[in-house]
């Protein structure tokens, strides 16, 4: 058993002030892919409160190490070696243990290992670009990877993505399902990125920017970035049967 039971009858409603609306014309791909009609709000029943359970045994030992999980024996990918770590929690601050986190990213040249990515930045034979892990006690997680490069993309004539890592997150409830992106502190491309700027609340963008954490670097080896992950929280009830937040 890896997931702990959700402790209540439902989740806090989503705060749509901080999520991008469906239609964001400066991000052109959204124009034909945005529903025009309103979402229909339905409450949280068991199908929304429950969600899939993943076991540690489904994952391999190097799945969270992108420096190793695709490289030839004794070799490693080119780029800035980094640790990305943090805690998956809900909006009440409760750590979420046993949850699946998946990431994908470009290599240090800004090139994805994907049959459709034709960018001039070269592939790195030792870098696949995906990783996954299951959160530990109190929601702790950690990946080792190389810092992805920025890359140009077809939107405006000269749009560049800031360095970023894509994150796919599960909580105990299917209505917590979320995909987002992590950015790096100090990157000047963040504030001019049309995808970042789909987020209407400029303060909320800060929640997606990982902090350089010199205290957790490995000297002479690897830098560290802290990125905490928050999913929707359960409303609490009188019937919670265990002390929380410990």
């Amino acid at each position: 058993m890896t997931n702990k039971p959700p402790s209540s009858g439902g989740f806090f409603p989503r705060n749509f002030q901080i999520h991008p609306p469906a239609y964001t014309p400066d991000y052109k791909s959204s124009v034909a892919r945005s529903p025009k009609l309103a979402l229909v709000s339905i409450g949280n029943g068991i199908s929304e409160i429950a969600g899939p359970v993943f076991g540690h045994e489904e994952l391999g030992p190097t799945d969270n190490d992108l420096i190793q999980n695709y490289s030839a024996k004794g070799q490693s990918p080119i780029g800035e070696r980094i640790i990305v770590y943090g805690r998956l929690m809900d909006e009440r601050g409760k750590g979420i243990e046993g949850a699946l986190i998946e990431i994908w990213q470009a290599n240090s040249a800004g090139r994805y290992r994907h049959t459709k990515d034709k960018y001039i930045g070269p592939l790195d034979p030792n870098f696949g670009g995906c990783g996954r892990t299951i959160t530990g006690e109190d929601g702790q997680y950690e990946f080792r990877t190389i810092k992805p490069g920025p890359y140009p993309w077809p939107n405006g004539i000269n749009d560049w993505r800031p360095s970023h890592i894509h994150f796919s997150l599960f909580g105990p409830g299917f209505s917590q399902r979320l995909i987002t992106q992590m950015y790096f502190e100090g990157d000047p491309l963040i504030k001019i990125c049309p995808i970042v700027n789909t987020i209407p609340d400029k303060e909320a963008i800060g929640l997606l920017i990982a902090r350089l954490d010199m205290a957790n670097t490995i000297p002479m080896d690897t830098l560290a970035y802290e990125f905490n992950l928050v999913l929707r929280g359960c409303r609490s009830t009188m019937f919670e049967n265990r002390p929380e937040g410990n």
Binding site: L37, S47, P52, D63
Partner: protein, 207 residues
């Protein structure tokens, strides 16, 4: 008094981008060997899973009628008895041979997705005793979708249950109910297309 108030904000969503297959279904992106050669959620049933075998195929169309070839689609459903494989399930013990979750890419060339699963049992509506018509929860993410989209698939043969279903009945536009009901193909096979925008736009839910 709120014992455990909301003190943090859910992270803002960002699009899955054009390369979501790398992270979620890497074999479709060309990473053949990673993760032991198959992605999580690729197989929903085994030979011991209880229930009627069904398959679901379809495409996800954008507002111009073009199928999306760079998306992922996830199913989440009850087992044949209407129980979920989750610690949140307190109505009984679910089928140990059924996780209830599946994930597939939309094909990079054709845009088609395909699942083999079982027909779910009925589950109660919210905390009432009233049963819902059998359905499968669906979640879609892709480039150009800024926040993952939740919808549901209902079954065409469940005419009576669908007519009494509390979720289908609360839709303001009853002429949109058909967007949530799969089309029957041959035995146990269904087609469920999702339309992101325009005529016959699928009903999406805020859950």
């Amino acid at each position: 008094m709120t014992l455990f108030p909301k003190i943090h904000q859910e992270l803002p969503s960002q699009t899955a981008g054009p390369y979501v297959h790398i992270g979620c279904t890497p074999q479709m992106a060309g990473l053949e060997t990673i993760y032991g050669g198959s992605h999580l959620g690729s197989k929903m049933v085994n030979e011991n899973t209880l229930g009627i075998r069904i398959s679901i195929s379809g495409k996800i169309f954008d507002g111009t009628g073009t199928p999306i070839k760079d998306g992922i689609i996830e199913l989440w459903q009850a087992d044949a008895q209407g129980l979920f494989h989750s610690p949140a399930e307190n109505r009984g013990k679910s089928d140990l041979n059924f996780q209830g979750w599946g994930r597939q890419p939309t094909d990079i060339l054709t845009g088609e997705f395909h699942f083999d699963t079982i027909k779910p049992g009925r589950i109660p509506y919210l905390s009432s005793n009233k049963l819902q018509a059998p359905f499968i929860s669906i979640w879609v993410a892709a480039r150009g979708i800024n926040l993952g989209l939740h919808t549901r698939m209902y079954f065409p043969e469940e005419v009576e249950a669908n007519a009494e279903d509390p979720v289908l009945n609360r839709l303001e536009h009853q002429n949109r109910v058909h967007t949530l009901i799969a089309k029957p193909l041959e035995d146990g096979m269904y087609q469920f297309d999702i339309v992101l925008q325009g005529e016959n736009e699928t009903v999406f839910f805020d859950i």
